[in-house]
């Protein structure tokens, strides 16, 4: 057996081990108890894969070159640079900023695959038709994942593209871009097959790169910010696919396996998330956002409001209370105060639970994280499905900085952009307290008819302050 054969065997076995670690990692990530271990396993798999590639022939053979062309020096420099940037960003991000950071990272991953394909295009002289098609698709998918993720990041962080741009004939334009890009791939493949010249092939590569970079932009820019978590998940699946195609084009098995795993598991996760928001992926991608009406503007009643003292009297008499937290609780960092109020109410004999909407806040699980931080026991956190049937037997529902997730238009106003989203039926409670600072709308920008209901009482002010005042009323 030659040295090269032994090398191939060893590297393949190591890649296999790392693929298995990714498989186990993804599996464990899907369960609450084991998720952290799953993440650890998959990072070990990544480490093994990176170390392994350093022993591949094309890398080791650069040892003999001067330092300016030694792959180890380049690689270590690049990893050090990237590692520091990644570590710093992920350390200093706040919780509410996490989804957009994930989007940004994902964009980098897509761009990286795109650059890998371009580098291979520029240097690989022995490319065959098959690899050329894979290379073209890597460019396409990497590009769309890149610009799409950047737009998603901009929308979520509020830095860019905040407005939902309405592109006329969106689907036609996007379809055209997708088609033109694929023509570029075909042109490039034909140049490799020798049917057309290398210059024309170059044009093909440029076409696909540009078309899909633009496509990522036009596709995502027209989608509302509320749908961004789903879009990020979809783009994540894309960047996995891009890695898989890059693997096909440079013929690397671990890229193929793990990229494809991410691609399909990401797609499934996307569908699961769509279902939680009662959207279809088709509607989200191809539906027109333009028809947004700001609710029925007709009879605009003025919401009633109440002082904290009066609210206290009602709360004291309540025997069942449901908290419905939303993004405002996160902004006000009111979770600890809420927990205190919960304790007071329980000491007062009331039955207290929390109704957690799957998309309350700005990322899935946002409320769970905050309330866990404030030591609210897991058993008290109920899902919308568990809570809604009991809502009509609830004395007081306290909506803390939530808005869209309790908007009854989602149930009874077909013209509302929220229509069809499952909500928490706060309006069914005997009395509804809404704690918010003013008349601001929620993430979707849609007016909330709940606030003008007869059984709804607004308690204006920062959520944390209001709740703290309620707690001190109980203490007196």
């Amino acid at each position: 057996m030659t040295f090269d054969n032994i090398r191939t065997i060893c590297t393949t076995i190591l890649y296999m081990i790392s693929s298995v670690l990714f498989i186990r990692g993804i599996k464990l990530l899907g369960k609450a108890d084991t998720a952290r271990k799953g993440n650890l396993l998959s990072s070990v798999g990544m480490l093994i894969a990176v170390v392994t590639v350093l022993f591949e022939k094309e890398v080791t053979s650069t040892i003999s070159f001067g330092p300016a062309q030694n792959a180890y020096i380049w690689t270590i420099a690049a990893i050090a640079l990237g590692g520091i940037i990644g570590a710093v960003w992920s350390k200093k991000v706040e919780m509410t900023g996490m989804p957009q950071l994930v989007a940004l990272f994902n964009g980098f991953g897509g761009l990286s695959s795109l650059l890998v394909a371009l580098t291979q295009y520029m240097t690989d002289k022995n490319i065959n038709i098959f690899s050329s098609i894979a290379l073209g698709l890597t460019i396409a998918i990497g590009a769309i994942a890149f610009t799409g993720s950047i737009v998603a990041w901009g929308k979520l962080s509020g830095k860019m593209f905040k407005k939902n741009v309405t592109i006329p004939a969106k689907n036609a334009i996007n379809g055209l871009l997708a088609f033109v890009g694929l023509v570029g791939v075909v042109i490039y493949a034909l140049s490799i097959a020798g049917v057309v010249g290398a210059d024309i092939g170059k044009i093909g590569v440029i076409i696909v790169t540009c078309a899909y970079l633009v496509l990522g932009l036009t596709m995502v820019v027209a989608i509302g910010g509320g749908d961004m978590p789903v879009i990020i998940s979809l783009l994540n699946a894309f960047s996995g696919l891009a890695a898989a195609f890059a693997g096909l084009s440079i013929s690397n098995s671990v890229l193929v396996v793990s990229g494809c795993l991410v691609g399909t598991s990401g797609l499934i996760l996307t569908l699961i998330m769509c279902k939680a928001m009662n959207r279809t992926l088709y509607n989200l991608l191809f539906g027109s956002f333009g028809s947004t009406k700001k609710g029925t503007a007709g009879e605009q009643k003025e919401p009633k409001s109440m002082s904290v003292e009066d609210a206290y009297l009602i709360l004291e008499a309540a025997s069942s209370v449901v908290f419905i937290p939303g993004y405002g609780m996160a902004v006000a960092q009111a979770q600890h105060a809420v927990k205190e109020l919960c304790d007071k109410l329980e000491a007062n004999g009331a039955e207290v639970s929390f109704a957690i909407h799957p998309v309350a806040g700005r990322m899935p699980g946002h409320m769970n994280v905050l309330l866990a931080e404030a030591n609210v026991p897991y058993e008290q956190l109920k899902t919308a499905d568990e809570m809604n049937p009991q809502m009509s037997n609830t004395d007081v529902a306290i909506v803390i900085g939530a808005n869209d997730v309790v908007n009854p238009s989602a149930i009874n106003d077909e013209s509302s952009p929220l229509y069809g989203m499952p909500i928490i039926n706060a309006f069914e409670a005997r009395t509804v307290f809404v704690l918010k600072r003013g008349k601001g709308t929620g993430f979707s920008g849609v007016e909330n008819p709940l606030f003008t209901n007869d059984n709804t009482v607004m308690i204006y002010g920062d959520a944390k302050q209001t709740v703290t005042q309620l707690v001190s009323e109980f203490e007196d």
Partner: protein
């Protein structure tokens, strides 16, 4: 690359795709974000391709390809390191709950 190998790679691709579908089934909604972020870190596996492509580029002249490759490694590393760390931080927050429960 032999045609047989290419085809087997495609085979691997197809089966891994089915495996990906099966791996994720019922995920509680509070795990959606960490799962997304964790698989996002895995998609940084393109770093392996980036290192390999950069090494190939270093065999040829043309500075542009070297720089492209270098940038690819940097970006993929950000994705990998950042992705794993953010995921771990998120999951760490959930952990508190588990600790208190027991």
């Amino acid at each position: 690359m032999a045609i047989g190998e290419i085809l087997l790679l495609v085979f691997v691709f197809v089966i891994a795709g089915f495996l990906g579908v099966e791996l994720i089934s019922k995920v509680p909604s509070q795990l959606h974000t960490p799962l997304m972020s964790g698989t996002n870190a895995i998609s940084g596996i393109t770093i392996v391709g980036a290192i390999s492509a950069t090494a190939v580029a270093l065999h040829t002249d043309g500075m542009l390809s070297n720089i492209c490759g270098f940038a690819a490694i940097v970006l993929a590393t950000i994705n990998v390191i950042g992705g794993y760390m953010v995921t771990d931080r998120m999951l760490g927050m959930f952990k508190k709950k588990g600790d208190d429960k027991k």
